[in-house]
């Protein structure tokens, strides 16, 4: 690995201060599962690595009506936390499907969000859940909805010197069900050919759908919100109707050909994962 300086700041203020001062010479490391590989491959060649891992105020998961996720919370903590599993099963389900247990133990939620990789699970589920990114910089904190945070693959609205300090997820309405469905070709790195997160709310008396949101991952340069899902609202969301919505959602996606398949194949897979995610979310919302 190319040599670099290394610091491990103890506070957000210290971290953004040094990042602001060192500009493009500095590189941010969260859990390291992606960052250390990028350093080794020479994808990035920084003078200075700023390891956020020692910042206590960026740790942990907090329930305060909604869910406040510290950027350093591990993917594994999202998977295992009892509160998350009870109130945000969609997030726990998506987290449990990321990579392998070694990666989930160290990879952070903030890192997964800031990295902006299109072939991953956590941002898909967080976007479906209406998450908002808390961004820290030298001039203070600002918040940006995750739907709008991504500019392109590995590109976000983060400015030089800014970091993801945390992610806020709003409280879910009663009678809401969520599901994350991922399809892989069984390749060892466990990245999705395509995935879909669905979040559906129903009226318990009539069973009609009152809110529906679908987000697709590995489906374009950024997590793709399927606008067609809102068409389920007001109706009974029959199996037939879900099939139609899933087919239309796949047409809203913009997948690229890569080692996980050509575009036409990914659209067919998207249709299937969206259908399964919606069907499962609806069933959970009704029980």
């Amino acid at each position: 690995m190319r040599p670099f300086e290394y610091i491990r700041p103890a506070s957000v203020a210290e971290a953004v201060g040094v990042l602001n001062q060192r500009g493009e010479d500095a590189f941010v490391l969260g859990g390291g599962s992606a960052a250390v590989v990028m350093l080794r491959l020479g994808v990035v060649r920084p003078e200075l690595v700023v390891d956020l891992g020692g910042i206590e105020e960026m740790r942990g998961l907090q329930r305060n009506g909604g869910l406040r996720i510290g950027a350093l919370a591990s993917i594994r903590s999202l998977e295992l936390d009892d509160g998350v599993r009870a109130a945000y099963p969609l997030l726990a389900e998506a987290a449990s499907q990321v990579a392998n247990v070694r990666v989930r133990n160290v990879a952070t939620v903030g890192g997964a969000v800031a990295y902006g990789e299109p072939q991953t699970d956590t941002p898909t589920a967080l976007t479906a859940s209406g998450a908002v990114v808390r961004i820290a910089g030298v001039s203070g904190e600002r918040s940006v909805p995750l739907d709008g945070f991504y500019v392109g693959p590995y590109e976000t609205v983060l400015e030089q010197g800014e970091i993801v300090a945390g992610i806020d997820v709003p409280e879910q309405q009663p009678h809401t069900g969520g599901a994350h469905v991922k399809f892989t070709v069984g390749s060892p790195e466990n990245k999705p050919v395509a995935n879909a997160s669905a979040l559906v709310t129903v009226d318990p008396s009539s069973g009609a759908c009152t809110a529906a949101r679908v987000v697709m991952g590995a489906a374009g340069p950024v997590p793709v919100v399927a606008n067609v899902a809102s068409g389920l609202v007001g109706g009974e969301a029959s199996a037939e109707r879900i099939k139609e919505v899933a087919a239309a959602a796949a047409e809203e996606a913009d997948p690229i050909e890569d080692l996980r398949g050509p575009e036409w194949y990914k659209r067919r897979i998207l249709r299937i994962v969206v259908e399964r995610a919606l069907t499962c979310a609806l069933q959970r919302a009704r029980t």
Binding site: P3, Y6, G32, V37, D51, N100, R102, V106, E189
Partner: protein, 156 residues
């Protein structure tokens, strides 16, 4: 830079370049060659060690990230005489062929059994599935872990 950490019960203070990974530190500085290197990207699991009880890929962590951590490698798991029960289970159940993935598999199995003393077959497959055996000896590995689960009461 200076890093202080505990490896296999011994607290060490080491001067290393910041670009040193935990894997480099174990293999090159401490000559603990039981931890293997292969994919260099957190995928294969050959470099699995336990850090504060959790399975991690030592190739994908910088030395600075394990400041103060308690690291266990296959050398630390192995008793002075004989084998750890998980190691013995792998021997008894043909859980290895070439042996390259074995230290990582055994430490991952240790992490699993520490977290969940009685995992089902499904749970074992899901947890262990992230580590790769290029000999494809997965049936033997699964048998070995299941045997270790059965023996779980006799050791801690």
């Amino acid at each position: 830079m200076n890093v202080t950490l505990t490896v296999n019960g011994e607290t060490l203070s080491l001067d290393v370049p910041p670009s040193t990974t935990l894997l480099d530190l174990l293999r090159d500085r401490l000559s603990l060659h039981g931890t293997k290197e292969y994919c260099h990207s957190g995928v294969c699991g050959a470099c699995t060690v336990l850090a504060d009880g959790k399975a991690v890929s030592s190739c994908s962590m910088l030395a600075g990230q394990v400041e103060g951590a308690d690291v266990l490698t296959i050398e630390g798991l192995t008793p002075d005489e004989g084998l750890h029960p998980i190691q013995q289970a792998f021997v008894d159940n043909f859980g290895l062929q070439c042996g390259y993935c074995t230290p990582g598999m055994i430490l991952l199995a240790k992490a699993l059994l520490d977290e969940n003393p009685a995992p089902t077959r499904e749970e074992i497959i899901r947890y262990m599935g992230g580590n790769i055996c290029r000999c494809t000896g997965y049936a033997g590995i699964l048998r070995s872990v299941e045997a270790a689960v059965k023996e779980r009461g006799s050791w801690s």
